[in-house]
């Protein structure tokens, strides 16, 4: 099973790929709404990518109010 650190790193890599940012440019504590400038459509697209990557279902109400990668990783970890 993945550790929370591995999950966090995979999320950062996925987000960097989706938003075409250099690898390593995102940090666990970053506010992804501010850092990536995400709108509602992109937030759901990111959710789909995360669900498909981790092969989980992550209800969007569990990430409502979550804005940093570290907390997002915790929510995903709980579903692995």
């Amino acid at each position: 099973m993945r550790s929370i650190e591995q999950t966090t790193q995979e999320i950062l890599q996925l987000a960097a790929q989706q938003f075409k940012l250099p690898a390593g440019s995102l940090a666990p504590g970053d506010d992804f709404y501010k850092k990536l400038g995400i709108d509602s459509l992109q937030a759901l697209e990111m959710l789909s990518r995360l669900e498909n990557h981790f092969k989980i279902e992550l209800p969007d109400y569990e990430v409502q109010g979550v804005s940093d990668f570290r907390t997002l990783a915790e929510r995903i970890q709980a579903r692995l």
Binding site: Y33, L41, L44, Y61
Partner: protein, 282 residues
């Protein structure tokens, strides 16, 4: 003197402000293309009515219809809530109620015409397919979904239920527990989960939903039209009684002042997950 009944000439091509359709080799493609995300308000409804009217003329020369979207964000985000809110705002409660009943009646006219069309209908869905958008997809006999598509019924956030026939139509294909999950949590589900639930017929790779739908449509053209129409009528009856009950319940719920408050919160929110309930401002 007898007058000969004029046969309706099929309208093979139409380009409007919110949608367009084009007929080719027995398949008609209806493309929704109204910014930002094909919201169903007055312009979209008016042109959907044109399409519904054209279907009877097209049916004789058509095997399949694909409904798709040209908007990059997805298939359809549902009812145009901004238009609904701002048009209802200056009206008295009685006029609001009358207005929504008229709108719902018109949308159900379109929905029943597409649902009952004696041709095979395919929704090619990508991105967001929510609320009224999902109800539009549910009119179709088959749903092809891009693996990145998401489906949801967020209406309860407004104090409403889906009003375009969503629940009765979804019940034809999908178990009640899945519908209750969508309704009571307001969450969206990814395409794979929607397929497992029985909502989505085929999954397509990212960006390939329309291509997969076209391939299905080509296969459909090979079958006898009369048999196909009879099979459809047999296997996919319109749940008219439940639809009437849904309209009555929707209109009853809409009459409450809380709905206008919820619409206002929705219109004003900046929450990125605004399909989920928005907390009242303290």
């Amino acid at each position: 003197m007898k007058t000969a009944r004029r046969k309706t000439e099929p309208v093979r091509e139409f380009r409007g402000q919110a949608l367009r359709w084009e007929w080719c080799d027995g398949v008609v493609e209806l493309t929704l293309d109204h910014a930002p995300l094909n919201e169903i308000g007055t312009p979209m409804l008016g042109e959907l009515e044109k399409f519904a009217a054209a279907l009877s003329g097209l049916a004789a020369i058509t095997s399949a219809c694909i409904i798709t979207s040209a908007r990059p964000g997805g298939f359809c985000a549902g009812a145009d809530l901004k238009e609904l809110y701002y048009s209802a705002l200056p009206l008295s409660p009685q006029k609001r109620a009358a207005g929504i009943r008229k709108f719902i009646g018109r949308i159900h006219g379109v929905a029943n015409a597409i649902d009952a069309a004696p041709i095979v209908t395919i929704a090619a869905v990508h991105g967001l397919c929510m609320g009224g958008g999902l109800e539009l997809a549910l009119l179709c006999d088959l749903i092809v979904a891009d693996k990145m598509a998401r489906f949801g019924f967020p209406e309860l956030r407004l104090g409403l239920i889906p009003g375009f026939g969503g629940i009765p139509r979804m019940r034809r294909d999908v178990g009640n527990s899945f519908i209750r999950d969508l309704l009571f949590t307001g969450r969206t589900v990814k395409a794979e989960a929607a397929q497992q639930a029985g909502l989505v017929t085929h999954l397509a790779g990212e960006g390939y939903a329309l291509q997969v739908a076209r391939s299905m449509a080509l296969q459909i053209t090979k079958f006898d039209a009369e048999t196909r129409a009879a099979a459809k009528k047999f296997i996919k009856p319109i749940p008219r009684k439940e639809l009437r009950e849904e309209i009555a319940l929707f209109c009853k719920l809409f009459d409450r002042p809380a709905v206008m408050d919820s619409l206002k919160r929705f219109v004003e929110t900046e929450d990125p997950l605004k399909h989920l309930p928005v907390a009242p401002k303290s």
